[in-house]
Structure formats: structure tokens, C-alpha cells
């Protein structure tokens, strides 16, 4: 059978961000794939070295368009560790609240993208409609739908009153009903299952070899979650389950992410109900002592690592970001091998790539 080369990207309807995949197909079967990345490289790590610590919060927020808050959380956490700051509990609660809201929004957005890739437009429309609930809450809290500018070194810049808490709790109930509907689709809709079962499979061994993190790893049976394994912010005070599945295919990832959204919802409720009183921030010293630190957070896509080195000046000597998408990109070739061309968008969606994060 003759071979044809199908280009996916840098611009393609299945891609929301630029990425280039050259697929060689025999008929409808993929025999080879080549990946090119770097289209969204903005030289951010170099820019970090030219700005002072406070200015950098603004840049860090713009590494990613979906999980912007978790990036500033990881960054501020690192700088706070360098400074030896004790962040007040109310600030940590609000930080965590935004992190979990962001996770729900990211997972819903992802479910919509997957649904659209397998031609299930209705689920796409529903998830993106209901994601607006989360976006509205985040906008009310911070003034921004995507870039929140909530974190500051030493605390947060927003506050919330009890009336607002009640209104958010009421809307979270609506959201939970909607997520239950999506869970029903994932579990019971036949066409959804035949398009996601047994494709893009990664075994636990493969996942471990590629150092895959986050929901993709958890869907392959690797029980990792920084929120439980190495709690930061106030995760040690929250009660939640880490969702793990064992199939390792796109369907398992869907399950993990959808059920994780429900867990995040529960966490948001706990955070809002137990929000302690107290100051929102502590004053940060003017000088960052020389030293280095590694700060880790569980982003919606998995473990996010910030390495910050200070030489005692007002600018960091080096900020290195390691995003969860990177290992997923490496594991992509394995998942694209020997599948149907029609399954490529589903596999691509399944790993939930964030190219802007990975390229920086």
C-alpha cells in the first residue's frame, strides 16, 4: 500500500496551539510520526533574568494561558522560600482556592476539546458553557478570567466576604450537577467509548520511563499527586482522593480528569467553608538573599517545577521552568504508533498538551 505523509500543524483544526506533526500513513494506519516543537517559544526564561522579582510575577502569569495561576503560585512559593517568609493562612487558602478552580476550568476545557476532536460537538458546547461558571467566579474574585494577578510575594492580593462565599457555593452545586452529566456521558455513551477506548495507550512502565506526570500518569496506574505526596499551600488540611485508573488509554484519562474535577469541587467547598480570618499578606523584605530553591506544584496537567537561583541582586540569576507537557510530548511518538489517522486528534487531545507552557 502506498504511503502518504499527512501534515498536522503548525496550523490545523485539531490544534489549538502551534505544533507540527508529520505523520506517515499506510492507508489509514500511522507508521511513523515526526514531532517539531518551538513555535510558541518566547524566550521567557531569559526575560525572567532581566526583570526584578516582583515584575516577574507578571511574566510568569503569562507562561500559560490556562493554568496561569499555578505558575505564579509555584514562582511565589519559591521566592517566599528564598526569603524565608511565612505566608498567612488566609492567603494560602485563597491561593489554593484559585488553584482548584483553575483545575476545574482546565479539565472542563480539555473535555470539550476532546469531545470536539471525536466529533461530539454537543459535549464541547456544554462543557465550555459550564466552564463559564468557574470563569465567572474567578473573574469576580480577581478581575480576570484567565490572568488573575492574585499571587504576590508574601500573600495574595484579593479578599472575599461571607456573602460572596455563599453565592459561590450555590453556583458550585450547579456545576457539580453538570459535571455529573459529563461523567454520565463518559461512562455510558457508546460512541464516546468506542472513540476513546484502547487508543493512545501508555503502560505504567512506559509512563514511568518517559517521566509522564499528572492525569496522564495517573490514568496509566501511577499513583502520583504532589498535592498528597508533598503538600504545599494548604493541601495537607484538605480531604480529597487521588483518582487513579489503570487502562492508560484516552478513556482512562477522561475518567481521571472528570472525576478529578469533582474532587476539586469538593476541595473548593472545604476551602470556602473553613476559610480562616487573618491578614492577606506579609511584607516581603527588600532583598532576596543569595541561594537557590526548587518549588513544585501540581498543575492541572501534572507536576510543575520552578527552579530559582538568586545571586543577592534584585533580579533572579536563573529561573528554570519544567512544565508537565514536556514528558507528554516525548511520549507522544509511542502513542501515535500504529493507530488510525482518525484517532490522531483524540490521542493528541488525550495527553492535554499545553504548547505555550512547553515552549515558553
Amino acid at each position: 500500500m502506498s504511503r502518504i505523509t499527512i501534515p498536522i500543524g503548525p496550523q490545523h483544526p485539531a490544534l489549538k496551539e502551534p505544533l507540527s506533526l508529520l505523520l506517515t500513513a499506510e492507508g489509514e494506519r500511522i507508521v511513523e510520526s515526526t514531532l517539531r516543537i518551538g513555535y510558541a517559544h518566547r524566550g521567557l526564561e531569559r526575560i525572567f533574568q532581566n526583570r526584578n522579582y516582583v515584575q516577574n510575577i507578571h511574566i510568569v502569569e503569562r507562561v500559560c494561558g490556562i493554568c496561569s495561576h499555578v505558575h505564579t503560585t509555584a514562582y511565589c512559593q519559591g521566592v517566599e522560600a528564598l526569603l524565608g517568609l511565612q505566608v498567612p493562612p488566609r492567603a494560602l487558602y485563597l491561593r489554593t482556592l484559585l488553584c482548584e478552580l483553575e483545575r476545574i476550568h482546565s479539565h472542563l476545557l480539555w473535555l470539550g476539546v476532546l469531545a470536539e476532536h471525536i466529533g461530539f460537538t454537543t459535549v464541547f458546547m456544554y462543557t465550555w458553557r459550564d466552564r463559564e461558571i468557574v470563569l465567572d467566579i474567578m473573574e469576580e474574585l480577581s478581575g480576570g478570567r484567565v490572568a488573575h494577578a492574585v499571587n504576590a510575594i508574601g500573600g495574595v492580593r484579593i479578599d472575599i466576604d461571607s456573602e460572596h462565599i455563599d453565592s459561590i457555593l450555590a453556583r458550585l452545586d450547579d456545576l457539580e450537577r453538570q459535571i455529573d452529566t459529563f461523567l454520565g456521558v463518559v461512562l455510558h455513551e457508546h460512541t464516546f467509548q468506542v472513540r476513546t477506548h484502547a487508543i493512545g495507550r501508555l503502560t505504567a512502565e512506559q509512563a514511568r520511563r518517559y517521566c509522564v506526570v499528572g492525569p496522564v500518569a495517573r490514568a496509566s496506574g501511577i499513583d502520583v499527586d504532589l498535592r498528597r505526596d508533598e503538600p504545599y499551600a494548604v493541601y495537607d488540611q484538605l480531604d480529597f482522593r487521588v483518582i487513579v485508573a489503570h487502562e492508560g488509554d484516552v478513556w482512562a484519562r477522561t475518567m481521571v480528569r472528570t472525576m478529578e474535577s469533582v474532587e476539586s469541587l469538593q476541595m473548593c467547598r472545604q476551602l470556602l467553608r473553613n476559610l480562616p480570618d487573618g491578614p492577606l499578606a506579609v511584607r516581603a523584605p527588600r532583598h532576596v538573599p543569595a541561594g537557590e530553591v526548587i518549588s513544585r506544584c501540581e498543575a492541572p496537567r501534572g507536576e510543575l517545577v520552578y527552579y530559582i537561583r538568586s545571586d543577592g541582586s534584585d533580579r533572579p540569576a536563573r529561573v528554570k521552568v519544567r512544565t508537565p507537557t514536556l514528558p507528554s510530548l516525548a511520549a507522544l511518538a509511542e502513542q501515535l504508533q500504529d493507530i488510525n489517522t482518525a484517532d490522531v486528534p483524540a490521542v493528541l487531545a488525550g495527553v492535554d498538551l499545553c504548547i505555550a507552557c512547553a515552549d515558553r
Binding site: I6, I118, T191
Partner: protein, 312 residues
């Protein structure tokens, strides 16, 4: 002279080109509106399909240098001509179409020409996506066409006539065929969804996989003609099912024929819209499996039942 005029009228105005165009646009609007409302969207205003058509007609028409220019210009016209010709033999409301024994077969043949034109368009328009889409459309054609043909032969065998007008006329004093052959109606509807490349069988034009499939490289007037032929095919396909399975304009009550016919057609359209909303797109191998392992045997059973019980 009057004969000539009335022939021209029926060819160009009703139930000919103008009427079909109107139906195609109206059905497209209703379909888009219903789907949008079911998906929690607002949906387009009534003139949107017309505006889209005019916009496309006015747009620049470009083709890649690899494309076969003559074929790419001719194929959308062939496709449109085939569906318009097929429409001639399908009675709409009380209007009696020029019918002859065997016109059902002619109509089915004419309705399958667009599928072949679509495949050729993919093959000749010089893009990888359109070649893959063309291959898929041909595979899809082989999967839905057999059950579709068999499902439509059921009513013909039952009525003892291969003329659509005859089959329709017989249902005015007998139960509608959908009541006698519900399985056949279901299969014909499934086949029609495959024919119209609607979700869940929108495989050849799966946009997240292969752009717009065979039509990826088409633009301007050619794309407008393709879309028009698809939308007229939707109307013609629905009219065909209404005539063959739902008794055409007959309802057993004194009511205007065209109104009854229109309501039945809208109901079929509504079913198509609902199916569109409810499912994810299948993969081509899954469709081939479905077509040959489920739909074709079911169609065979339906035909056998008609032959053994209905006639005997």
C-alpha cells in the same frame, strides 16, 4: 403552449429548482437552529443560509496548481444536476411527478452520483486531506448504500411497484409503510444520515482530522455549489423517505396536502438534527463494521420478511 409553460413552471419554480432551493435553505436554517438550541447556543437568524450562499458565490475561487481544473469545475455541477434531476421524480405534496415504473431505482442511482463526484473531487483536488477524505467517502458509500437500497426495496416489493408515486398512492388507503416496516424505515434513515454525511457519519469531512475532507481545497463558487447540492440532497432525501415510508401527503384527514407533507418532512428533519446532537463521530472502520455486520443483515431480514409474509 400551456403544456410547455406548465412543464417549465414545474421544472423551474414548483416543485423544481426554486422550490428546492427554498427548501434547502429553510431546512438548513431549521437544522442549524434546532442543533444550536439543543447545544445551548442561540443559532443563526433565518437569512443566514442565504447569506452564506451569496457570500460564497461572491468569494474568490482558487485551486491549488496540482488540482485538475476542469474536473474540479465540473464535479460540483454534476453533483447538483444529479440531485435536481432526482427531485423531478419525487412527488411533493399533491403534485404528481412525471412517474414511470422503475423511477425509484433511477432516483436512487441519481442520488448516489453526488457521492461519486465527492470522491473524485477529493482525489483530483490535489491535497492530502482531500485524498484521505475521498477514500473515506468511498468506503462510507459502500457501507451505507447496500442497507439503504435494501431498506427502500422493502416498500417497493410490498406495493408491487417500483414507482415512487405508486408506492405513495397505495399508502393513502393502507397503513403507512413505516408502521408495517419500522425496521426498514430505521435503516433507510440511517442510510440517509450516511448519505448526507451527517454526524455520527460525518467521517469523510471530519474537520478535526482532515480539514474539510474532499472539499478542503474548494472555495468560492465551487464550494457554494457543493454545499448547495448537499443541502438540496438533504431535502430530496427527506422527501423520498416521506413519500416511500410516511405516505406522502396522506393523513386520513381533510388537510392541505402540502402542509401535511411539510410537517412530515420537518419531523424527519428533526430526527436528523437530534441524531446529529446525540453522538460522537464514528471511525471509518467502525462504520464499515456497523454497515456490513449490523445494518446489511438487518436490511436482509426486513426484505425477507416482506417477501415471505407481506406478499405471500
Amino acid at each position: 403552449m400551456t403544456d410547455c409553460l406548465s412543464a417549465l413552471f414545474s421544472l423551474l419554480i414548483f416543485p423544481g429548482f426554486a422550490f428546492l432551493l427554498l427548501c434547502a435553505l429553510a431546512f438548513q436554517w431549521i437544522d442549524r437552529l434546532v442543533v444550536a438550541r439543543l447545544q445551548g447556543r442561540v443559532g443563526p437568524p433565518w437569512y443566514q443560509p442565504l447569506a452564506d450562499l451569496i457570500k460564497l458565490l461572491a468569494k474568490e475561487d482558487v485551486l491549488p496548481t496540482e488540482a485538475h481544473e476542469l474536473a474540479c469545475a465540473a464535479l460540483p455541477m454534476v453533483s447538483l444536476a444529479a440531485v435536481l434531476t432526482a427531485a423531478l421524480y419525487i412527488p411533493v405534496g399533491k403534485h404528481s411527478a412525471p412517474s414511470f415504473e422503475g423511477d425509484l431505482i433511477v432516483v436512487l442511482f441519481l442520488l448516489s452520483i453526488p457521492a461519486l463526484a465527492y470522491f473524485l473531487a477529493g482525489w483530483l483536488s490535489g491535497s492530502v486531506f482531500s485524498v484521505v477524505g475521498g477514500n473515506r467517502s468511498l468506503l462510507q458509500y459502500f457501507s451505507y448504500e447496500v442497507p439503504f437500497l435494501m431498506a427502500l426495496s422493502g416498500p417497493a416489493i410490498l406495493s408491487g411497484s417500483w414507482s415512487i408515486a405508486q408506492i405513495t398512492a397505495q399508502q393513502s388507503h393502507a397503513p403507512w409503510i413505516v408502521l408495517v416496516q419500522p425496521l426498514g424505515f430505521f435503516l433507510a434513515l440511517t442510510g440517509l444520515i450516511g448519505k448526507l454525511k451527517r454526524s455520527p457519519f460525518d467521517i469523510p469531512k471530519a474537520k478535526s482530522e482532515i480539514g474539510a475532507g474532499p472539499l478542503t481545497e474548494f472555495s468560492g463558487r465551487k464550494l457554494a455549489l457543493w454545499q448547495l447540492s448537499l443541502h438540496i440532497k438533504t431535502a430530496v432525501g427527506i422527501f423520498l423517505l416521506v413519500d416511500v415510508f410516511l405516505g406522502g401527503a396522506s393523513i386520513g384527514l381533510p388537510a392541505p396536502a402540502i402542509l401535511v407533507f411539510g410537517i412530515k418532512a420537518l419531523l424527519v428533519l428533526l430526527v436528523l438534527s437530534l441524531v446529529d446532537v446525540l453522538y460522537a463521530r464514528l471511525r471509518i472502520d467502525q462504520l464499515v463494521n456497523l454497515g456490513w455486520r449490523v445494518l446489511a443483515p438487518l436490511a436482509l431480514v426486513q426484505v425477507l420478511v416482506v417477501i415471505l409474509i407481506g406478499v405471500g
